[in-house]
């Protein structure tokens, strides 16, 4: 395996991490909330897709189209019923409630699906690849990367070009004044979390087809998502993609040296960025 190939695989892996991170980044940007159950929600969505694929024999890409609205509703309800109650000046309640939710989800999935590791079968697509001479690109990793780009383009269009996006930005800047202008911040928050969960469903498809997952796989996904957001800088979705790519490349380079170092080298890259540029590489938000 050449260095170039390793880097290309890392970039594609970074697309997956950006998909993990996009929802986290969106929610934090709008309501300064960090959802510690984000990774477990990705795993939940992966299990939903798995049930549709194995139970009804659906194509995984069709299954994700069904799971996306389901996850949107789940996210909307989660925010409206649970998380909106925790928002305030104090960062403690949202963190502890989402931490509790993470433990609840993990153990509910353990009860429902046992601790066995599963995989979503994507048929012939799984092994399909494009040969470019020195580099061979797997079709699924490439689609994950392109999906990440599409999600970020879509979210940016939504945020900067639509009335809903204007409401997002206004609520993010000043919920009280936004409220005076006829926006209902709580509803805006619920829509934002719903959207984040729809993105989570896309991330879950590529998580589940790329490798095995089990009910305890959530926290590691949360950490990768978080690292991508911080490396990229808060408030910038393109930054998050760059952060994901840096994390992915660091991991594949580490794994090329010694397979045991894959995860560790990703973490070290994150710490290095934190050391040199504490606000990330492409920061936009003030805090």
């Amino acid at each position: 395996m050449t260095i170039l190939d390793t880097i290309v695989q890392g970039v594609l892996l970074g697309g997956l991490y950006a998909l993990f991170a996009a929802g986290l980044s969106l929610v934090f940007g709008i309501m300064r909330l960090v959802n510690l159950a984000h990774g477990d929600l990705i795993v939940l969505a992966a299990f939903l897709i798995l049930v549709l694929v194995n139970g009804l024999g659906l194509n995984p890409f069709l299954a994700v189209l069904i799971v996306m609205p389901l996850m949107f509703i789940a996210g909307y309800a989660l925010q409206a019923v649970l998380l909106n109650r925790t928002l305030g000046k104090d960062v403690l309640p949202p963190l502890l409630v989402t931490f509790g939710l993470s433990i609840v989800l993990q153990n509910a999935l353990l009860e429902g699906f046992s601790a066995d590791s599963r995989r979503i079968s994507a048929g012939a697509l799984e092994t399909a690849s494009i040969n470019l001479g020195a580099v061979t690109i797997g079709l699924m990793p490439l689609m994950a990367f392109l999906s990440a780009v599409a999600v970020i383009v879509g979210l940016n269009l939504l945020i900067y070009r639509t009335a809903l996006g204007r409401a997002f930005r206004a609520t993010s800047d000043d919920p009280v004044t936004a409220g005076l202008m006829g926006i209902r911040p709580r509803q805006v928050f619920a829509v934002a979390t719903g959207l984040a969960m729809a993105v989570v469903a896309i991330a879950a498809l590529y998580l589940g087809t790329r490798a095995n997952f089990d009910p305890t796989a959530g926290p590691a996904r949360l950490i990768y998502a978080f690292e991508a957001v911080i490396i990229g800088g808060l408030g910038s979705l393109w930054g998050t993609l760059a952060g994901g790519v840096i994390l992915g490349v660091a991991q594949t380079l580490g794994a090329a040296v010694n397979p045991e170092w894959q995860i560790l080298s990703g973490h070290l890259a994150f710490l290095a960025v934190l050391l040199i540029r504490p606000r990330g590489l492409f920061p936009r938000a003030v805090d």
Binding site: P93, P94, L96, L101, S102, D287
Partner: protein, 360 residues
């Protein structure tokens, strides 16, 4: 002082706290005698309760008083445990001084970790501490002398010949296993008492007042000259020391270590958070109540596996939503009873006002 007003004094003591001081001393005395009064299994249960109490009090100080919400305190449990193992296996040090060394090394580890995590704002600090814990776990899993990823055991003779085991055998005819359980239990009792004593003293001191001010309004606290950053860093170091000691002590008793167990988020952070949240965050009584409840629940629901953790998580969420100051907070608000009062009251003046706001 130029004007003396001898009749006025600022105090934190209340009638309940004077009583609770007596009760605390009685409990401590009874606790010291426990290995002679109850079975070995009960001593092990008490050891578990006391070490979880130390972890809970440390996390409570960090999150409830200093506002530093960490989900990565398992780093100090695991690192303390590994430091103790290293001292015993590599240098042949007796486990008991090795525990102290582990505490000191954990506090030292807190310096570089604080350097990284303190750069992250509020909620991101929480995940940052988790990443640091993962990094330390993955690094220690590379250390082949201490068993790498699969872990290792303490040499049998290290625990059997631990300081004090011979003495207990000669004095009371205890078997080595029984004696080492008694010794680790006493150390846990001393550590728990010292932790609570330290936190109580800290909260009643000038620094404690500064800490409360920072928690309630950081900007206002800074404006009156409280160095918030330094204060938080000191609390972070102190809790790293206490957590490291507890981690080393737990693993002297377990005598077997692996990176996944020693850095377990569930065992050393999730349980601890639920103990504190359900018992009552931001109070000293809360974690004590929480750890007792936790122990009872664990024994009642031990057969239900993941349902147990699921319910614990739900209980934590419901507590946070509907009784954010936990069971003790709800009890204390209703009755006004505080066993470890830290609120300052003015006594000796013409009108003594008791009660009022619930902040310490």
């Amino acid at each position: 002082m130029t004007i003396a007003i001898p009749s006025l004094k600022v105090e934190t003591r209340t009638r309940a706290s004077s009583v609770s001081r007596l009760i605390a001393l009685a409990v401590l005395a009874l606790g010291l005698a426990a290995p002679f009064l109850v079975s070995r299994g009960a001593v092990q249960d008490l050891f578990f309760i006391l070490t979880m109490l130390v972890l809970a009090q440390s996390w409570n100080l960090l999150a409830g008083y200093a506002g530093l919400i960490s989900v990565g305190q398992q780093v100090f449990v695991g690192f303390g445990a590994y430091a103790m193992f290293g001292a015993v296996i590599l240098f042949g040090i007796d486990p008991i001084p090795a525990i102290l060394i582990a505490g000191v090394l954990s506090a030292l580890l807190a310096i570089p970790t604080a350097f990284f995590t303190f750069r992250l704002y509020g909620p991101y600090f929480a995940i940052g501490t988790w990443v640091v814990a993962e990094v330390v776990r993955l690094l220690l899993a590379q250390w082949k002398t201490l068993g790498g990823g699969t872990g290792t055991s303490l040499p049998r003779e290290a625990v059997r010949d631990m300081a004090g085991v011979g003495l207990l055998r000669d004095l009371f005819g205890m078997k080595p296993a029984q004696a080492s359980d008694a010794i680790t239990y006493w150390l846990a009792l001393i550590l728990a008492a010292a932790t609570i004593g330290f936190i109580y003293r800290l909260l009643r001191s000038k620094q404690g007042l500064g800490l409360a001010a920072v928690r309630d309004n950081e900007q206002a606290a800074r404006a009156v000259g409280v160095d918030a950053r330094r204060m938080k860093a000191m609390v972070y170091l102190a809790t790293a020391f206490m957590t490291g000691l507890a981690g080393a002590l737990i693993y002297v008793q377990k005598a077997r270590i692996s990176p996944d167990a020693a850095f377990s988020v569930t065992d050393w952070t999730a349980y601890v958070i639920f103990i504190v949240v359900i018992g009552g965050i931001g109070t000293i009584e809360g974690p004590i109540l929480g750890v007792i409840l936790f122990f009872l629940l664990q024994n009642l629901l031990a057969d239900y596996g993941s349902w147990y953790l699921l319910m614990l998580g739900l209980a934590g969420i419901l507590t946070m939503l509907f009784a954010p100051r936990g069971l003790w907070g709800a009890f204390s608000d209703r009755t006004g009873i505080q066993l470890f009062p830290v609120r300052r009251t003015l006594v000796g003046g013409p009108s003594v006002h008791q009660g009022g706001s619930s902040h310490g």
